[in-house]
């Protein structure tokens, strides 16, 4: 009987601890964002009414954030879970959601916020057969690299916050409007600054830049990967290099989660400029917020195009 008593006292102690820990943080709306861009946007809209945690720190692969058990207690207590949508997080979110044991944020509940609602996807695959690589059945999920579409995400976060805490609607509306006004100004600036990028061809490691290219009139020529999630074969690299030379592709983009070796070799052989660009805030230094990240991406691209090789 003694072991049972011991076990019971452990349970009682942990239950008491949990009550204490939840009451200590009462008051704020607890948000868990999968990636840092949504974390930043939700901090803007929620301001001091929310406590935001992001699963990613910014340097990870958006499809491969390591499933750390430390995420589980965070998700267990979350009021809202912000997901990018289009199955961006398919490799890590479903198992984490299951482990979180938080019914409020499961996919069929209002606490699960799909921030892609209302966005028309690009590159919707004709097949999800694996010969096409690790494709996303609903379309390319990297819409956040288009700042105009980021406004839709802001609005989705706003709607979720209002639905969760309607008593704070006025604050959320004020915060959202202020942020959107700033973002609109920045978009106008970026469009002006990015004019030299119009028609410019570039390659990247992964199919991350479809929306960005569409917004700024660039030509996303190809990827280092053979298919999404599949490493290149030597023949693919050869063909890519030959094509880039023929088409005079001046830029090679390497995202932080991929090794530099192959992109660097491609840049060297084609005479293109290699640039390291983040795909979410925090991916490289000085890009802690969404706006800083977009600033960085556009400055770096334009500078690479105009600067000496």
């Amino acid at each position: 009987m003694k072991p049972l008593l011991k076990l019971f006292s452990v349970f009682a102690l942990t239950a008491a601890l949990s009550v204490w820990s939840t009451s200590a943080q009462a008051g704020k709306i607890k948000i868990v964002a999968t990636l840092t861009d949504l974390a930043d946007l939700s901090r803007e809209v929620g301001d001091d009414l929310v406590e935001v945690n992001s699963l990613a720190t910014g340097v990870e692969d958006t499809h491969g954030v390591p499933m750390k058990p430390s995420f589980v207690p965070l998700m267990n207590r979350a009021d809202l879970l912000l997901s990018e949508g289009f199955e961006m997080e398919h490799a890590f979110l479903p198992a984490l959601l299951e482990a979180s044991k938080n019914p409020r944020i499961q996919r069929d509940r209002s606490g699960y916020v799909d921030c892609s609602q209302g966005i028309v996807p690009l590159a919707v695959p004709k097949t999800t057969e694996h010969y096409a690589g690790d494709v996303h059945p609903y379309g390319n999920p990297h819409y956040m690299l288009d700042p105009v579409l980021a406004k839709t995400a802001v609005d989705n976060i706003y709607k979720a916050l209002v639905a969760f805490a309607p008593q704070h609607q006025a604050e959320f509306t004020r915060n959202r409007d202020a942020y959107l006004a700033r973002l609109n100004n920045k978009i106008a600036e970026w469009e002006k600054e990015a004019r030299p990028l119009k028609g410019v061809k570039f390659i990247a490691y992964h199919e991350e830049w479809n929306y960005f290219a569409a917004r700024f009139g660039m030509d996303f020529y190809g990827t280092v990967e053979l298919r999404p999630g599949i490493d290149p074969t030597p023949r693919h690299i050869e063909e890519l290099i030959a094509g880039m030379k023929a088409e005079h592709v001046p830029l090679v983009v390497r995202e932080p989660q991929f090794p530099e070796k192959v992109p660097s070799a491609i840049a060297e052989q084609t005479g293109a400029t290699l640039i390291n660009l983040p795909i979410m805030p925090g991916g490289v230094p000085q890009t802690e917020t969404y706006m800083k990240m977009m600033d960085y991406i556009i400055h770096t691209m334009v500078a690479a195009l105009q600067g000496p090789k």
Binding site: T14, A15, L17, S18, S21, T22, T57, V59, E60, D61, G64, P66, M67, K68, P69, S70, V72, P73, N76, A91, P94, A95, L96, E98, A99, S100, K101, P103, Q106, D108, V120, P121, L122, V124, T128, H130, G133, D134, P137, Y138, G139, G229, I230, D231, P256, Q257, F258, P259
Partner: protein, 451 residues
């Protein structure tokens, strides 16, 4: 719908083109007749310029129409998409072939794998999963493994269980046939193991996979630190060995009971430590072994019949997984130590009952795997165990493997294993080379336990 959308776009687009042309015409100064008479060349130039401008406007509008058309196409395309949820439940299939060479026959190694060259279709595994309703999900793993002796594939249900998804109080219940949570690798399917074979100690002390027909309760302890507690009760516990022979009538004490407590420490953002403790107890393993199916183990000619099963385990995984390029580089050290403390009834060769005895035997495995490329990884493993019935019989094994994963769904592994049983075991050292080829089609999701 698509036709209507395109027609609308073309109609609107052409409207803009005509408006644009009209505007261009209005805005250009129409030269008067006097000017035309006086400067015929100038007139021609002006007309040409106006035409050029008009052509430019038409081109721009045409581009806009094309852009809109492609956007409409995308939209229509995305709506046509067959959603994965329509394939309900989701289905995946795993194939796994083991090509091997072992230097000695199974009589000398004690293994169920033959000596010499062998090709063994270990897994033909069908995975099915889907939600049952808003409160539960269900899944099944149906595997056909080729019989070692006959080569005939026998279909078996490895798992078929219901798992709750919406219980309050951080609780989750699993019921049915499933791999019970004990240790680290007991509940991992063959093709996902870090080495070709399941560690010897799990094969012997648990009986391979930790399969059970039972009920398992998992509780996420509601504190800020991750602590997971699992308790379960079930019919058998372990794969095909020991067989699930339960006799004629069984009390509750004839069931297996198990539990696991695991936690996690983030030493740095890149380095984590996951320790766990597990226990398994069957108070009365009455006639757990069916002599009709399998010979009872003997030590010095005395037959041992298991009466009580007690197994404890401690496991540890230390991993370095750089956040930035975790798809390309990881280092994992995994260790599991098991202590089997079974009680046996003993009869001598003439069938006379001798005093029963408890055998406390230890076994462990420890491995280090390193991934240095998205496609390449390798590792080394050390194993040591005492026979759970005869502690004097000890076995060590050393393995090294190199793995080439062409993609998430296609993996080749080459492994060398040297198994070294001691003299008391009556077995002989053995060199083995394995080539494992595993592939997956369809849906394949990694659950929390396989992370």
């Amino acid at each position: 719908m698509r036709a209507i959308a395109i027609a609308l776009v073309i109609y609107l687009g052409s409207g803009w083109v005509f408006t644009a042309i009209a505007q261009e015409s209005d805005s250009d100064q129409v030269p008067n007749k006097e000017d035309q008479a006086q400067n015929p060349d100038k007139h021609a130039n002006t007309t040409e310029e106006a035409l050029k401008k008009q052509q430019q406007a038409i081109d721009e509008q045409q581009k806009m129409i094309n852009d809109l058309k492609s956007e409409v196409d995308q939209l229509v395309e995305s709506q046509k998409k067959v959603l994965p949820s329509e394939f309900n439940p989701s289905i995946g299939f795993v194939g796994e072939t083991i090509f091997s060479y072992r230097s000695r026959g199974s009589s000398e190694t004690g293994s169920d794998q033959p000596g010499g060259f062998n090709i063994f279709q270990r897994s033909m595994e069908l995975n099915i999963a889907g939600s049952v309703d808003p409160f539960a999900k269900g899944y099944a793993v149906i595997n056909a493994t080729a019989d070692m002796a006959t080569g005939e594939a026998t279909l078996g249900v490895e798992e078929a269980a219901l798992q709750t998804t919406a219980l309050p109080g951080n609780l989750e219940v699993k019921a049915g046939r499933f791999f019970g949570e004990f240790g680290r690798l007991g509940y991992i399917h063959d093709h996902e193991l870090p080495f070709v074979n399941r560690p010897l100690v799990l094969d012997q002390y648990i009986g391979g996979e930790s399969r059970t027909d039972g009920l398992q309760l998992n509780w996420l302890v509601p504190v800020e630190h991750y602590i997971s507690l699992t308790l379960g009760a079930g019919n058998q516990f372990g794969g095909d060995n020991p067989p699930n022979f339960v006799g004629e009538f069984r009390q509750g004490s004839g069931l297996n009971y198990w539990g696991r407590l695991s936690t996690y420490f983030e030493l740095t953002p890149d380095i984590s430590l996951e320790p766990g403790l597990s226990g398994l107890w069957n108070p009365t393993t009455l006639a757990q072994w069916d002599p009709a199916v399998q010979d009872l183990p003997t030590v010095n000619g005395n037959t041992h019949t298991e009466r009580e099963r007690r197994l404890a385990g401690a496991d540890l995984v230390l991993s370095w997984k750089p956040l930035r390029n975790n798809q390309f580089q990881t280092l994992t050290w995994g260790t599991e130590v098991l202590y089997s403390d079974n009680r046996y009834d003993i009869t001598d060769s003439s069938g006379n009952a001798l005093p029963g005895r408890t055998v406390g035997a230890y076994g462990l495995y420890s491995y280090l795997t390193y991934k240095w490329h998205r496609q390449w990884s390798g590792g080394v493993q050390y194993e040591w165990l005492e026979d759970m019935v005869d502690m004097q019989a000890k076995t060590s094994a050393y393995s090294a493997q190199i793995t080439w994963a062409l993609s998430h769904w296609n993996q080749l592994r080459l492994q060398y294993t040297y198994t070294d049983p001691n003299a008391a075991s009556g077995l002989h050292p053995d060199n083995a080379v394995y080539m494992q080829w595993a592939w997956i089609i369809g849906s394949h999701a990694h659950g929390w336990q396989q992370r």
